[in-house]
């Protein structure tokens, strides 16, 4: 059950947006499609919704092949980055839209709309127009609108992208709690790895129209499949063939087995964490993440020669 995409391909002119993409989204889960601009994540989301037609491949929703079904009939709730609010209708009218289409009776519509507005904490604003709401309120309205018709699947396309950082963080938490309550299979698209790791149970990392890796946040962080995933989900130092996370670099005052000589270039304190930039004997620049306590203990100064030992190194065989 849930959502299954098999072998999806989509081309826009010369640009291959999706290149043989297959994913599995378990029923009731909260999945993030994560990747940089142009990775195909939005295209994939829209293909699942039926807003894009695939050149090849299949989309199955809750076990049934939906590839040929038009968007109108797929029963997916879709939330757009820029809200797509019906500007000429009130908040009530927006949320009630899907129900009116389905010819619900007026009293039932009223009950359901108010129930949803309470859920998204917009009760009392039913008679306002979208341009009288803040960005965060508009997005909550869009969510209520999508949920009103009890969709099988909820799809969100960079839902918090147009909002301020603080509002974004609040809505993130709120979305997770909503999902905990409602258990609708949910997929959302984001380019922000912190957001994805904070909210989602499963992450699908995409790049250039292909899936690089999918798994939980821990899987991706600790066992990245390749350099792209490793550098996308966290900071990375490159040491020849190996990749090391900055917090896996140990700074020693005396040489030790497997350590390398390095000179301290710059020390930047960022709140609790401290970023120390080094240059190695061969000119490679790396940086290590240390705590303030460690910094004080080591008494590091710019220009000082120290020794770095990499903890967990990862290397990836070059793909054929």
């Amino acid at each position: 059950m849930g959502i299954a995409v098999e072998g999806a391909r989509k081309r826009f002119g010369d640009f291959q947006a999706l290149d043989d993409v297959s994913i599995d989204v378990p029923d009731g889960s909260l999945t993030a499609l994560l990747g940089p601009s142009g990775s195909g994540k939005s295209t994939l989301l829209r293909a699942i919704a039926g807003l894009e037609a695939l050149d090849a491949g299949q989309v199955a929703i809750n076990g049934r092949d939906a590839t040929a079904t038009p968007a109108q009939k797929r029963e997916v709730g879709f939330v757009f980055q820029h809200y797509a609010a019906f500007k000429h209708m009130t908040v009530f009218g927006n949320v009630a839209f899907g129900l009116k289409i389905r010819k619900w009776a007026k009293p039932q519509i009223g009950d359901r709309v108010h129930e949803l507005l309470r859920l998204v904490q917009l009760d009392g604003l039913a008679e306002r127009y979208p341009d009288q709401l803040s960005g965060g309120q508009r997005q909550r309205m869009a969510l209520a609108r999508a949920l009103a018709v009890e969709p099988q699947v909820l799809l969100l396309d960079e839902p918090f992208g147009a909002l301020d950082a603080k509002v974004r963080k609040d809505l993130r938490t709120w979305l997770r709690r909503l999902h905990d309550e409602m258990h609708v299979t949910t997929i959302f698209v984001t380019h922000d790895q912190e957001e994805a790791m904070d909210v989602a149970e499963q992450l699908v990392v995409m790049n250039e129209g292909r899936v690089e890796q999918s798994g939980s946040a821990d899987d991706l962080y600790d066992h990245p499949a390749n350099e792209f995933v490793m550098s996308f989900v966290g900071e990375v130092n490159r040491l020849g063939e190996h990749f090391v996370r900055p917090h896996d670099m140990t700074v020693l005052l005396d040489p030790d087995e497997g350590s390398e000589q390095a000179m301290v270039q710059r020390i930047v304190a960022l709140g609790f964490e401290v970023r120390v930039e080094f240059v190695l004997a061969d000119g490679t620049e790396v940086w290590a993440q240390v705590t303030r306590a460690e910094l004080q203990k080591l008494e590091l100064r710019e220009g000082q020669i120290v020794h770095l030992r990499a903890g967990q190194r990862k290397s990836f065989s070059v793909a054929a």
Binding site: M89, D131, A142, A146
Partner: protein, 286 residues
């Protein structure tokens, strides 16, 4: 700042001499001898028929061009096609063609020697020197307005609301009726006002096509011309006043409509004399 007053003087002087004074003059001339003569002139059978016929032109041509205009705008904006530039060009043609030539073209097509003329008269359908021909002329001259006003508004609102409606289960028709049309209504309304004004004022084409048979195929503008040529000054002025009042109403509606269109989030609508960025160039820009 003499420059400022100099410019103002030139501007208002020109406008005054060219626009205001003549219009004021005709109001004066019409009501020079009181309300009686113009009202009499306008209630004569010929005049009443002319008014009625003019309104009939509006009642037929405007809805047809509105439906065509909205549909065509949807087609041009929502469906990319290489032929769109051609469609756009044809739609702008009525702006470049003399009304006399338009009249001639219908005269030729539906006349006794024309391609449609003989067949239609066999079926008993009279186009020339009769109402259908005049309606065709009215449609021709007022064709572009609704399309030109609707296209930029459609471009501006974007497709996201329509996509949202689709995911919520709305069919294409429901989406159009409940989401698209309300969003573009001010642009369409402005276009309707321009179309109506154009149909009301059409003269040259209708002259040729109608044969100007008084009491039968005379619209109000034709009535005014014939009255003047027959030295019926009161009739001519009275008719002119009616048309002028309609024109001023149009100006008012244009001004109000333009403000409403701007307020509802669009830009000022394309005026009848403006260079509308055609679909093709808009395509290249986006």
């Amino acid at each position: 700042m003499t420059a400022k007053w100099g410019l103002r003087g030139l501007a208002f002087g020109y406008l005054g001499l060219l626009l205001l004074a003549p219009v004021a003059m005709i109001f004066y001339k019409t009501f020079e001898h009181g309300l009686g003569p113009p009202v009499d002139a306008m209630t004569s059978p010929d005049a009443l028929h002319a008014i009625w016929l003019t309104l009939l032109m509006v009642a037929v041509a405007v809805p047809l061009n509105t439906v065509f205009g909205v549909g065509c705008a949807l087609l041009l904006v929502r469906h990319r096609w290489s032929g769109n530039a051609v469609i756009d060009g044809i739609i702008n043609l009525p702006f470049a063609i003399s009304p006399i030539v338009i009249g001639l073209s219908l005269y030729l097509l539906y006349g006794t020697g024309g391609w449609f003329g003989p067949t239609l008269s066999e079926w008993g359908v009279k186009v020339l020197f009769s109402t259908p021909g005049m309606i065709l002329a009215s449609i021709f001259v007022s064709l572009p307005f609704v399309v030109r006003e609707t296209v930029p508004v459609l471009q501006e609102i974007g497709t996201e609301q329509e996509q949202a409606a689709s995911t919520l289960g709305a069919s294409a028709w429901q989406t159009f009726w409940r989401v698209t049309l309300p969003a573009i209504r001010w642009g369409v309304a402005y276009g309707v006002v321009l179309t109506t004004a154009r149909v009301l004022g059409e003269f040259g084409a209708v002259t040729i096509v109608s044969g100007s048979i008084s009491g039968q195929t005379e619209t109000l503008p034709l009535f005014v011309a014939r009255a003047f040529e027959n030295f019926d000054e009161q009739g001519a002025y009275a008719g002119a006043i009616v048309l002028a009042l309609l024109a001023l109403t149009t100006l008012l509606l244009m001004s109000v409509g333009g403000r409403k269109a701007k307020a509802s989030g669009g830009s000022t609508p394309v005026g009848p004399g403006e260079v509308a960025i055609s679909m093709s160039s808009a395509k290249e820009v986006s």
